[in-house]
């Protein structure tokens, strides 16, 4: 009986699929919804490329797109967990504004002047970021505690926070813009010096490929150990090829975008390099904010799928009573989710203010709506319990692609808002249809 059970379990379901596409999808165990989003993104990209007269799919635009997406991408990974537990956070844009302001004041006034470190001290960026993280986590802890322990709905608490933190950002400097930022801190915003260059970008690609292959290998070994159905070898190989291909392709695009001519010339002069006839070609490589966002994506995926905390988040989202009865301290988990959200807002604030090279009290305005929209387009269900980090990151990329594509097309601002609004509703409607058909 046990043997029979084992052999039955060991047959992978892909054996029973007839049509080749279906067999490929089942064998690779790819999420069809995620693939649909990749398809939608491809259509958007190609569509804008044609409509903008060949401006969209250029290394320069794709590189800029990646940098522009970074800040929202960082925040959306936390918003997924917030929405999965049937909460919402309307205050992320305001938290970003306040934290950006705090970090700005730290590095332009408190640390260099009042504490006497002097401008350009190598510790300034780290201490400022640390202070920002502390403020972000503190705000998250406060909002989370009010939601979890005082039982005020998250919608109301964060709506209040939306006003409070925006007002606080204003109040810190009485509305004055804080600039310029510390030179090291600025690297978090991207730009020619805020990118890691061709060599290190290839290193990142190699590390990513190695991680993909190792991940597949260990996954397979784990399944063998417990006698679970294995993916066919050809499916494993295709997954490895697709994954590594994407990583290498992305790095190739980032490396194909050179520094602007003037900056490259200035750099050559400063370092005594002779400028060749065709101009100096120095690759940007991956921008540091993009690297941060990718790192956050990996860490948050790990947290949501491989840790107890992540498991509890999804269990609570499906049935809060069941989670409580199972002995999970649901209130503390809620507080932790909001603390995490606050920390991510602080990271996003560092990226945004470094990119702008200034902290203003309007920084992050409307970001809460883009973050929530990205999460929802990325497949996070407002009914709770469902959502993935990868989907939300793709959602953020879709939102930003629409924005920058319309700018390239020269579409008027009011029209841009109208299109984004319609796309949001349309995307959620498609998702509803997809889920209904799946069941």
């Amino acid at each position: 009986m046990a043997d029979q059970h084992a052999t039955l379990a060991a047959a992978h379901p892909s054996r029973f699929a007839q049509n080749p596409l279906q067999r490929f999808l089942i064998a690779t165990e790819l999420d069809t919804r995620l693939l649909g989003m990749v398809g939608a993104l491809a259509i958007i990209w190609v569509g804008f490329h044609i409509l903008s007269g060949g401006l969209f799919l250029t290394p320069r635009n794709l590189w800029n797109l990646s940098v522009q997406t970074a800040s929202v991408a960082v925040m959306v990974t936390g918003m997924v967990l917030v929405i999965v537990t049937r909460n919402i956070d309307l205050s992320v844009g305001s938290i970003l504004g306040l934290v950006g302001m705090v970090m700005g004041v730290m590095q332009t006034d408190i640390l260099p002047v009042q504490m006497g470190l002097g401008f350009g001290h190598p510790l300034i960026w780290a201490l400022s970021l640390g202070a920002g993280l502390a403020v972000g986590v503190g705000i998250g802890a406060l909002q989370g505690s009010i939601i979890a322990y005082l039982k005020v709905p998250a919608f109301i608490v964060t709506l209040g926070g939306y006003l409070v933190w925006r007002g606080a950002a204003w109040w810190v400097t009485m509305g004055r813009t804080v600039a310029p930022m510390d030179p090291t801190f600025q690297l978090m915003g991207g730009g020619p010096s805020g990118s890691i260059g061709a060599f290190w970008s290839w290193v990142v690609a190699i590390v990513a490929c190695a991680a993909i292959v190792l991940g597949l290998y260990f996954g397979r070994r784990q399944r063998l150990r417990f006698n679970f159905p294995l993916r066919p070898i050809w499916a494993e190989v295709s997954l490895a090829v697709i994954g590594c291909g994407l990583a290498i392709g992305a790095v190739w695009v980032a490396n194909a975008y050179p520094w602007p001519r003037r900056i490259a010339e200035a750099f050559a002069e400063a370092n005594g390099i002779a400028v060749p006839d065709g101009g100096l070609f120095i690759s940007h490589g991956i921008a540091i904010p993009v690297l941060i966002a990718l790192g956050v994506g990996v860490v948050m995926t790990f947290i949501s799928t491989r840790t107890r905390f992540g498991r509890y988040v999804f269990a609570m989202g499906g049935n809060p009573e069941a989670a409580e009865l199972a002995g999970i301290n649901t209130r503390w988990v809620t507080v932790k989710i909001f603390m995490l959200m606050g920390a991510l807002c602080a990271i996003a604030a560092a990226i945004s203010s470094a990119r702008l090279n200034a902290a203003t009290n309007a920084l992050g305005t409307l970001d809460e709506l883009y973050v929530i929209a990205a999460a929802v387009i990325g497949g996070t269900s407002l009914a709770g319990g469902v959502g993935t980090i990868a989907g939300a990151l793709l959602g953020a990329l879709v939102m930003q692609s629409l924005q920058s594509g319309m700018v390239l097309m020269g579409l008027d601002s009011p029209l841009q808002s109208i299109v984004v609004g319609i796309v949001l509703v349309f995307a959620v409607w498609l998702d509803t249809l997809y889920r209904r058909n799946k069941n």
């Binding site: 679970f228 269990a315 609570m316 499906g318 069941a322 199972a326 999970i328 319990g385 469902v386 069941n439």
Partner: protein, 260 residues
Amino acid sequence: MLDTRTPLVEMNDISISFGGIRAVDRASIDLYPGEVVGLLGHNGAGKSTLIKILSGAYKRDSGSIKIDGRDAAINNPRDAKGYGIETIYQQLAVADNVDAAANLFLGREITTAIGTLDDAAMESKAREVMGRLNPNFRRFKEPVKALSGGQRQSVAIARAILFNARILIMDEPTAALGPQETAQVGDLIKQLKSDGIGIFLISHDIHDVFDLADRLVVMKNGQVVGTARTSDVTKDEVLGMIIAGKAPAGAVAGPGAVAD
């Protein structure tokens, strides 16, 4: 009682009120190792409320709980689990959006050496337990939401037996099940009983209780009408206890019994 052993559970003079209504009024019940005690009564008789006090879902207003003869502090479900009390709830308390293995181990996940979830180990153990309980169960990868009521109930029961509960509370365990699955649950209860586990069985179905329980306790309006060995009373007498609140000769009358 002839039993001179220490009861596994003693709940004495338990009361709880909700907004001025006494849901449970000075109720006392006990449970011995390897015994099945059926808890009977109408809807709203207070049986589920009483048992939720034991499982930590509600906090009692007054009264005492002893486990193994010692006072037990049960203030939340985590405390109850600490005493080996596992509950299978009427409303199928499973987390809908995670799979069977995640539900089985919810709150007590198996982790790897570096503290991450060991999903493969959990799924393997889940397959083993589910194979014993419900050999037809195959849908390990899907969220529990996609399963039928019976399958969900098997997940809930598997969850309880997985952690070697000493005291098992089953609140209408067969309400959502078909006849075959009900019979399976019956066999399972007998098996657990022979392992020395004490079981509180809450049910509307008087036949179920007579088949499975050693003793039964009838409640009405929050009070205990009476306690009896199933061998000492007839089904009609028990019906009389439930409906009219009359304790028959074979039963020990409680505070809720109507005087003739």
